[in-house]
């Protein structure tokens, strides 16, 4: 079976503990989470989880059915990387003393990233973009010395006019 990554877009009731229930389900059933983002939505009663999972189609189907069994889960949409709007946020602090600064600033401009903070020896950069671009950028920065970084994991919405609130035909 071919393994691939899928993005699960999950609409849940905004109850405390939803994240725990979902994370518990994944670990108990042996599904691996690459990343998970939980946040509020346009409707205060709902929250939205965006979960990236590696697996095969059978895993994704089983996972969808298991998620829908949780009382707090309202809808599950499985999105593919290629046909959804997705992006993640990177914050990274790189070593940037003396003559390193110029090339780093240049790279930040090339990648459409942004400088958030400049210290005596470091620069902290913010970048949003698709996972691949961010991976690239991080790789480029590695030669200057990454001191620490944080990534949010993928956030995603369906492409086109459809939303998670629209019923599947």
């Amino acid at each position: 079976m071919g393994e691939s990554k899928a993005i699960f877009s999950v609409l849940a009731v905004n109850h405390p503990g939803v994240l725990l229930r979902v994370a518990g389900l994944f670990s108990r059933r042996g599904f691996n989470i690459d990343s998970i983002v939980a946040c509020s939505t346009e409707k205060p009663a709902f929250s939205r989880l965006t979960i990236v999972v590696t697996g095969d189609d059978a895993t994704f189907t089983q996972l969808t059915r298991q998620l829908l069994k949780l009382e707090d889960i309202i809808k599950v949409k499985v999105l593919e990387h290629e046909n959804c709007s997705n992006s993640e946020l990177l914050l990274v602090k790189v070593h940037a003393a003396g003559n390193k600064r110029g090339p780093i600033v240049k790279m930040v401009q090339n990648y459409g990233a942004r400088i958030l903070d400049i210290g005596d020896q470091t620069i902290t950069i913010e970048m949003t973009g698709q996972t691949g671009e961010i991976d690239d950028f991080v790789e480029q920065l590695e030669r200057y010395g990454i001191l620490e970084m944080a990534r949010t994991g993928i956030n995603a919405l369906q492409q086109g006019d459809l939303t998670i609130h629209d019923d599947e035909k």
């Binding site: 503990g17 725990l20 229930r21 518990g24 089983q62 298991q66 829908l68 069994k69 949780l70 009382e71």
Partner: protein, 554 residues
């Protein structure tokens, strides 16, 4: 205005609850105070241990189909319920467990007897709640009952901080909430199923506990007869099909019959009704029903393709789906197939000629069966005695077998029998236990005595942890590690010490008179059945194996 505990009582009444099983403590004092006021309408049964209360709620639910209720205090009271809740979860039994907790202001401070029971029970409940505001109490209780009994049933837990049970609120009576209706099956899936049925030469029905919980035995029988299809079930399905029927092949799986396991091997169409292909049924998933199309009918979508990939998935209530199928199918014969497969049915005879010999457990079971009516409720514990019971007792009615299938909980039986007896005061309840299992929760004998319950307990006393020992025989070269506990408990004296009647069977000739005497005695009776430590459960398919590796003799 009512306080939270009174609101709880009103909601229980609205849900039709007349019996609850529980154990008091500091965090549930308010609830128990309300129970005192409502004692003419809600019968509270005090068990010896919260685990017993949870199993009793389970036995109450399994034997009736109603939601069972248990109550425990915070901390250790709540954790003592855990095994009972997990047992109910694995076998899809609707119970509502109510736990007390420390006051909201004390939560999260490691207060005395505080435990995060909603966190602990998350993976073993359908859903759980902590109610922090008394205004949400009544809707939560009704919601808990709705969830417990809807779709695939299961346990729900409600955690109630102490201050919520005393807080006052304006109470508006609510009406009974029934189970949410399941979606009707998709027409196209029915057509696909009919098409497969039409072309099948060697169909087989394999059903599980879903037939029992959806009360679909009649529809199942009709389909089997109309289409002349042989039938087998998992352990959880027993009682869902008449065991004397010519199409009945028996239980399938590790300790199932040769006929059922061969049939699965050779069928070209497997109709799966409310069953889940557990590893005790399909030991080797890739070799299970290798040549068959699979029609999988279940209310729980997540069962589809979880263990075995189906050709057609029919989501819906089994009773409804089977009814539609019955109406639509024609009459069909598969006589050759049926003859071939039913000819593999075996009757096990027991030798009772030597009156002084050691009694055979099957002889004891057959005698119990002959001396009880079709109405008898049989509870078991877990081990060899459980397998002998399900293989040979021939459970004749749905909801008459109480046994822990999914979790395999030793110590389940006595509590379950208590719950069933309260739910069915007119029926004979029998527990078939093993010496190991019985030692786990025999404290509940005290409950039998307090309430003078006419339950008869047969302890199949082989003086060993027989099932584990059997595995050590087969797979570990007779290295009997920790399965021969050399206990010296005198079960007859023990019974008497608890205020029950004790009896003993140690010879073949004693089997019939003692079993008779046990049923004639009236109150709670414990019968110490001294059997050989070397009796085995057969047939047996080794774990991961197929019917080709079936061990019929040892």
């Amino acid at each position: 205005m009512l306080n939270g505990s009174q609101v709880l009582m009103e909601c229980l009444l609205e849900q039709g609850v007349d019996t609850v099983f529980g154990y008091p403590g500091g965090a549930v004092l308010n609830i128990y105070d309300a129970l005192y006021n409502y004692r003419d309408r809600i019968n509270h049964v005090l068990t010896a241990h919260e685990q017993g209360a949870a199993h009793a709620a389970d036995g109450y639910a399994r034997s009736t189909g109603k939601v069972g209720v248990c109550i425990a205090t915070s901390g250790p009271g709540a954790t003592n319920l855990v095994t009972g809740i997990a047992t109910a979860y694995m076998d899809s039994v609707p119970i509502v467990a109510i736990t007390g907790n420390v006051a909201v202001s004390l939560l999260g401070r490691d207060s005395f007897q505080e435990v995060d029971i909603t966190g602990i029970t998350m993976p073993i409940t359908k859903h759980n709640f902590i109610v922090k505001n008394v205004k949400e109490l009544s809707t939560t209780v009704h919601e808990a009952f709705r969830i417990a009994k809807s779709g695939r049933p299961g346990p729900v837990l409600i955690d109630l901080p102490k201050d919520v049970t005393s807080a006052m609120v304006e109470y508006e009576p609510q009406s009974y909430t029934g189970a949410s209706p399941s979606q009707p099956p998709k027409q196209e899936r029915i057509e696909m199923s009919l098409e497969l049925l039409k072309h099948s030469q060697r169909p087989l029905i394999y059903f599980g506990g879903g037939i029992i919980s959806s009360d679909a035995g009649q529809e199942l029988l009709m389909l089997a007869e109309k289409q002349n299809i042989p039938v087998c079930s998992s352990m959880m399905g027993l009682g869902g099909f008449p065991p004397s029927h010519r199409l009945w092949l028996g239980m399938i799986g590790m300790h199932g019959t040769l006929a059922a396991n061969r049939a699965a091997r050779e069928c070209d169409l497997l109709i799966v009704c409310g069953a889940r292909f557990s590893d005790r049924v399909a030991g080797n998933r890739s070799e299970f029903a290798p040549g068959a199309d699979v029609i999988h009918i279940d209310v729980d979508h997540a069962e589809f393709d979880k263990n075995i990939t189906a050709s057609v998935r029919v989501a819906g209530n089994l009773k409804q789906v089977l009814k539609i199928l019955c109406e639509r199918v024609g009459n069909s014969r598969h006589d050759e197939w049926v003859d071939k497969i039913t000819s593999l049915k075996r009757v096990k005879n027991v030798d009772t000629r030597n009156g002084d010999g050691v009694p055979d457990p099957l002889h004891i079971l057959k005698t119990i069966r002959e001396l009880t009516s079709d109405d008898v409720i049989v509870a078991t514990d877990v081990g060899q005695h459980q397998m002998w019971t399900v293989q040979h007792f021939e459970i004749r009615k749905a909801r008459s077998l109480l046994t822990s299938g999914g979790l395999g909980t030793m110590g389940y039986g006595l509590g379950a029998a208590i719950g069933a007896q309260f739910a069915n005061p007119g029926r004979q309840v029998v527990l078939i236990s093993g010496d190991g299992s019985f030692h786990m929760n025999l404290n509940e004998l005290t409950t039998l005595a307090s309430y003078d319950l006419p339950i008869v307990v047969f302890v199949m006393n082989n003086r060993v942890l027989g099932m584990v020992r059997q595995w050590q025989k087969v797979f570990y070269d007779n290295r009997f590690s920790a399965t021969d506990p050399k206990r010296r408990t005198d079960l007859v004296k023990l019974a008497e010490a608890f205020g029950c009647t004790g009896m003993r069977i140690s010879k073949v000739r004693e089997v019939e008179p003692v079993v008779k005497a046990a049923f004639a005695a009236g109150g709670p009776v414990i019968v110490d059945c001294c059997i050989s430590p070397d009796a085995n459960v057969l047939p047996m398919i080794p774990p991961g194996g197929t019917v080709d590796e079936i061990i019929e003799e040892m």
